[in-house]
């Protein structure tokens, strides 16, 4: 069974990667998930955790996943906003775990916005 002391192994493993991380601050990509009551009840928590898992798996050290409150479009939740430096904000709606994975691969890693997941006219 894991104990809190086991975290030292992770610390030691990561210490070597730190210099890289520090120099990357201005290139930070922010992925923001709406996590008010509306977002949470629509399924924002698994989306948030999928994003964290994918960022860890792909070692995307310049990506930060954060929470925010109600974005004012409750019926479109779960909503994920992506902020890439020097680019316009992209808002994804009705996101689920699968779409979250696509957003990481296509948008964050390869720079292609997932157009199918944007707000549509009928929304």
């Amino acid at each position: 069974m894991k104990s809190i002391a086991d975290i030292k192994a992770i610390r030691d493993k990561m210490q070597s990667e730190i210099i890289l991380r520090d120099s990357d601050e201005t290139n930070e990509i922010r992925v923001v998930v709406g996590m008010a009551t509306c977002g949470i009840s629509a399924g924002a928590r698994p989306v948030f955790n999928t994003l964290i898992d994918e960022v860890a798996k792909r070692k995307l050290t310049n990506v930060k996943v954060t929470r925010t409150g109600c974005l004012g479009m409750c019926k479109l939740e779960p909503i994920v906003e992506v902020f890439v430096p020097n680019q316009e904000k992209v808002t994804y709606v009705h996101v689920n775990s699968e779409k979250a994975m696509d957003i990481i691969v296509n948008h964050i890693v390869n720079g292609n916005v997932c157009k199918d997941y944007l707000i549509k006219d009928e929304d």
Binding site: K2, I4, R11, T37, N49, R67, G69, L71
Partner: protein, 184 residues
Amino acid sequence: MRELSLNILDIAENSFKAEATEIEIVVKADANFLTISVIDNGVGMDEEFLKRVTDPFTTSRTTRKVGMGIPLIKMQAELCEGSFDIQSTKWVGTTLTASFKTNHIDRPPLGDIAETIVSLIADLKGAELTFRYELEGEEPFVLSTKEVKEELGDTIPIDTPDVLIFIKDLIKENIKLSIGGFSL
């Protein structure tokens, strides 16, 4: 909300909004009751706001005129023959407690509490979080972000994805999700 863990995430979000620097989430269970408490030292509420905080047409948000978080958990607790209480003092903090009859047919499962705690730790917004999990007859499990940060030292932030995944596994491995034959 399909899981009580989602209610916990929702309620804890209010503590961050209240600019708390210390937030404690306690889950306690015995054969009779499952009790959830969220305790913070945030800005608190004045008496007038506290009185109407369980009304769905009271909210602190500016994007909508309804706030369902507190009414939802209160309704759920009352449906499960439990109780609901919220105490708050302006500029001191807020304590919310909701209890549910453990074996009540309408009680939602506790669900993925590890995922809830990690979702909060991923973005602490300057607060420290303590999670306590106490089952009757079991050793309590306590996770505090202060303690984790001490172990990590100054170079590795607690919101690093690898650390978050470790914490999620740590919680999952150390807590038991059933009591007296009832699954929580």
